[in-house]
Symmetry: C2
Amino acid sequence: MTSKRLPDVDCAVAQALGVVGDLWSLMVLRNVFNGMHTFAALQDNLGVSSSVLSARLKTLCAAKVLVRQAATGDARSFEYHLTECGQDLYPVLIALMQWGEKWLPSQRGKRLTLIEKRSGKAILGARVLAQDGRVLKPRDVKVLPGPGIDPAFHALMTRTPAK
Amino acid sequence: MTSKRLPDVDCAVAQALGVVGDLWSLMVLRNVFNGMHTFAALQDNLGVSSSVLSARLKTLCAAKVLVRQAATGDARSFEYHLTECGQDLYPVLIALMQWGEKWLPSQRGKRLTLIEKRSGKAILGARVLAQDGRVLKPRDVKVLPGPGIDPAFHALMTRTPAK
């Protein structure tokens, strides 16, 4: 259906999507962030077949997003935990969650509220920040090409000025 | 291949992915954020067929993420621009971009640097914030169910305590 396979595109977003752009993979990560670490809990919640879930977990472990380790107190069973690389996906998940809650709400009300444990207050959510912590809008930010940029993408960027 | 179609899952992340989880849709949005507003520029850059690009643009306009309007200075041609709903996807895109740059770098070096126009300095990137602007880690945040939560998801959350 598409004329170019996405992970071949040399762009940071495309490369990221090559690993976590699969919808089921992101749903697996959402659940691991929410404390579900076993194959059974993930399968129950997502309602996917064993083969689909196995494949996604294998891909996420191969990409070093998750690590499989013996379960606490039961060396015969396994748990899936986030690596540092996986933890770094937290802003992606939170950004998707807040966008879905705001623009595609449930008719029954808020699905989830994210609170800070220490204060019990709702969090602000994912934002794009300057080095000094100020929140930035798209219009405040400019994209500069680096040595690793895809030449075709750079040509298009310079041909079509940002508006 | 999957036993449940994703947009049927009543979760903010799943709902968001139902609209922007398609890989090509996110690549289209990346390019619109980077100043590409015409069908021709988007197609040149992504190398997709007209039919695939048309379908994605139609979906993004139907979801009110993009709006199609007459091009400035040429009423016969059209441009695609971000709505307020589309602008709100900025943290999602930046979070994916920074993760891809950090964990799946190009061998030729950085692909892009995002700088603040006003200061010329590199931005910090997407972070999860408390109401007072402090940056939060996954372990600082707790998920509380609201009235709109999927009962099956809630049952699993309470059965498997967060670790």
